[in-house]
């Protein structure tokens, strides 16, 4: 008789538990159904990240922007989905945020582009903002920062700090955005150290710490004494720290993760732009278009430079930064030669935005290839 009663007890407990769950669900349902219409003032803003906000790089920078947005605009509530892969899943994530009632959705990776274009027509009342892409629609805008500007500044540091004159560059995909940064960096390096070269290794992933670190280690093995990167994690920085060489980060200030190796990082400050965009949507003044801000807007910047860097180098960087901000010159100012030594930009000319967005060649001084298109 012992066992049956115990079984009954277990069954009863189970039943009670299930009832509680059901009851709990039922309660909540009523709340959540009544909540959105009541809070008419509230504006829901969604974010889709390609990596985790803790990557301390690209996604971290966007997440800082999201937090800044919530802080500055009290009527804004944000939700986000992290680690959304750049394929079929992006569509699901976009749909979900739109259905949750988001009025603005920021899709923060290049590979989300087609998914945004696909989903946006279904939600004409929602504003989709796609970062770093070039496809737009009535309710789809694009935005980006001129990250090649701080890249160029970091190149000025790197060129002076390398001793082996070989700099390693861990790069994600051979797309114009990344190529542009490699070129800008190399232009900066060669401006202060014409005999230095920049070696590029492709990883074909935005976020894969293990792969990024492996790539950095192989570059160090190859003789590079300074590592920089176009990746979302700080794994390459750590590789440099471990091997006792120098490093330059990207997207966020990566100094804390490699305090000895890291010299500086070209970074993004998305916060102000997110606040401006959401305010436009709220006021009804938003219009589809492309935004590409530079140093003067503060959307891109160079993180504080390490004390290891001599004062004269810092002064030169500051001077060039001012020059760029005041638009006294461009990063890509002729004459610029490609890897084969052909002049691509004549003396006195600069590169148009259009050319920059479709960039598919390396400047002189880059060691590496772009896969054929």
């Amino acid at each position: 008789m012992k066992r049956p009663t115990r079984k009954n007890l277990a069954l009863m407990l189970l039943l009670v538990f299930m009832l509680t769950v059901v009851a709990g669900c039922a309660d909540k349902k009523e709340e959540s159904q009544t909540a959105p219409p009541a809070a008419g003032q509230e504006l829901l803003v969604g974010f889709i990240y390609v990596g985790p906000p803790g990557d301390a790089g690209w996604t971290y920078a966007h997440d800082q922007g999201r937090k800044y947005l919530e802080e500055k605009l009290p009527y804004v509530k944000t939700i986000f989905q992290e680690s959304v892969s750049e394929g079929a899943d992006a569509e699901r994530a976009l749909n979900e945020l739109a259905q949750k009632g988001c009025k603005v959705i920021f899709a923060t990776s290049y590979g989300f582009m087609d998914s945004v274009i696909q989903v946006a027509p279904k939600y004409p009342d929602v504003v989709f903002m796609h970062c770093s892409g070039y496809k737009r629609d009535a309710n789809v805008g694009t935005y980006f920062g001129r990250d090649y500007q701080p890249r160029y500044l970091s190149g000025l540091v790197a060129g002076k700090m390398t001793k082996s004159n070989e700099i390693g560059y861990v790069a994600a995909y051979p797309i114009p955005e990344v190529i542009r940064c490699i070129n800008a960096f190399t232009v900066g390096v060669r401006e202060v150290n014409p005999s230095a070269t920049v070696k590029v290794v492709w990883t074909n992933t935005w976020y894969d710490p293990a792969k990024e670190k492996q790539a950095a280690l192989s570059l160090i093995e190859d003789g590079c004494d300074l590592i920089t990167q176009h990746q979302d994690s700080y794994a390459a920085q750590q590789a440099a720290e471990e091997k006792g060489v120098l490093a330059i980060g990207c997207d966020s200030d990566m100094h804390p993760f490699a305090p000895n190796a890291n010299l500086t990082s070209p970074i993004f400050n998305w916060g102000d732009y997110y606040v401006r965009t959401v305010e436009q949507v709220k006021n009804g003044t938003w219009k589809s278009g492309d935004y590409w801000g530079g140093l003067e807007d503060g959307i891109v910047a160079l993180a504080p430079i390490s004390d290891k860097v001599p004062a004269d180098v810092k002064q030169n960087v500051a001077a060039q930064e001012t020059g760029l901000k005041e638009k006294k010159f461009d990063v890509f100012k002729g004459p610029v030669k490609d890897q084969q030594g052909n002049i691509k930009i004549e003396a006195g000319q600069t590169m148009s935005d259009q050319d920059m967005l479709a960039l598919n060649w390396f400047v002189e001084g880059v060691v590496g290839t772009i896969p054929a298109q």
Partner: protein, 356 residues
Amino acid sequence: MPFHLVRRQESGMGIRIMVPLFSVLLSLLAGAVLLWLYGHSPLIVYESMLKSAFGSYYGFSETLVKAIPLMLAALGISLAFRMKLWNIGAEGQIYMGAFAASGVALAWGQWSAWVLLPAMILAGMLAGALWAYIPGVLRASLQVNETLSSLLLNYVAILWVDYLVLGPWKDPKGLNFPLTPRFTENATLPTWGDSRVHLGLLAALLLAVILWVIMRRSRWGYEIRVIGESWDAARYAGMNISRNIVLVMALSGALAALAGVFEVAGITHRLQHGLSPGYGYSAIIVAWLGRLNPLAIVPVAVLFGGMLVGGYSIQTEGVPVSIALILQGLVLFFLLGGEVFLSHRLARNDKSEVEG
């Protein structure tokens, strides 16, 4: 230990339903503790999980979208597993199916959909069959362990697709991003309403029924079941084991490959890196939980799909994705751990039974 396990002679229907149910409840309880420790309300999180996976039209449609490839791959896997052929290569077969279908779609995109789609399906299934044929033949003729060979071929298939999308098949207008060009309209599967649920669902359901009939009612299914139980008995019955190994592996691969075909034709509309987030591996669990029964695999795949979708969506409640993954892991852990209670029961170590 005050308890020990005693083997059950038979496991009745009640046990087979109660044990998994109880496992899921336990995993939810364990998950609740975890969520609570992280400062989230378990009830709200679970409600959101449930609602986003099954509670709304869109959510459920997404659940089905995930369930289709799981279903197809699990059907293929169940067929091989029935014969105790451990085909771990469904992931690679999915990629090969996607590759071949994409090849057809990119080369003959202008064909009418009535010709193009069947051609894609045929090419995809053929590629998957060939991909599984390799470990099948190796097993049948040289006794090479198919678990390892099929698993290793996964990496080859995934890297092959990577090579294609990074190189020869890269979209010339894609500014070097690793994607093939988008398929033409003719190469895309019709979808249900405005959802992403595509024709693959009907195909998967139909195949589940067909497979069930084959296994239960057909002469060939009988052969597969006998071979799966004992090679000696099969030999004694005059069955051709080698031929069936190759045949079953190939068909298993073809079914898994169909998942890949439908993913590119129905969802991504192009070939790309990271096409399958491990469907081929999750499908092994689906097939197992479905007890290799084609009809049981259907609901299990839907539940599994719901778990994936629910897991993603609780991020909007502020639950980090890693916690969501832990919750999914817990469910599987408890479900598979509970399997032991299907064949065993717990008994108390009661000394008085012996002494009294």
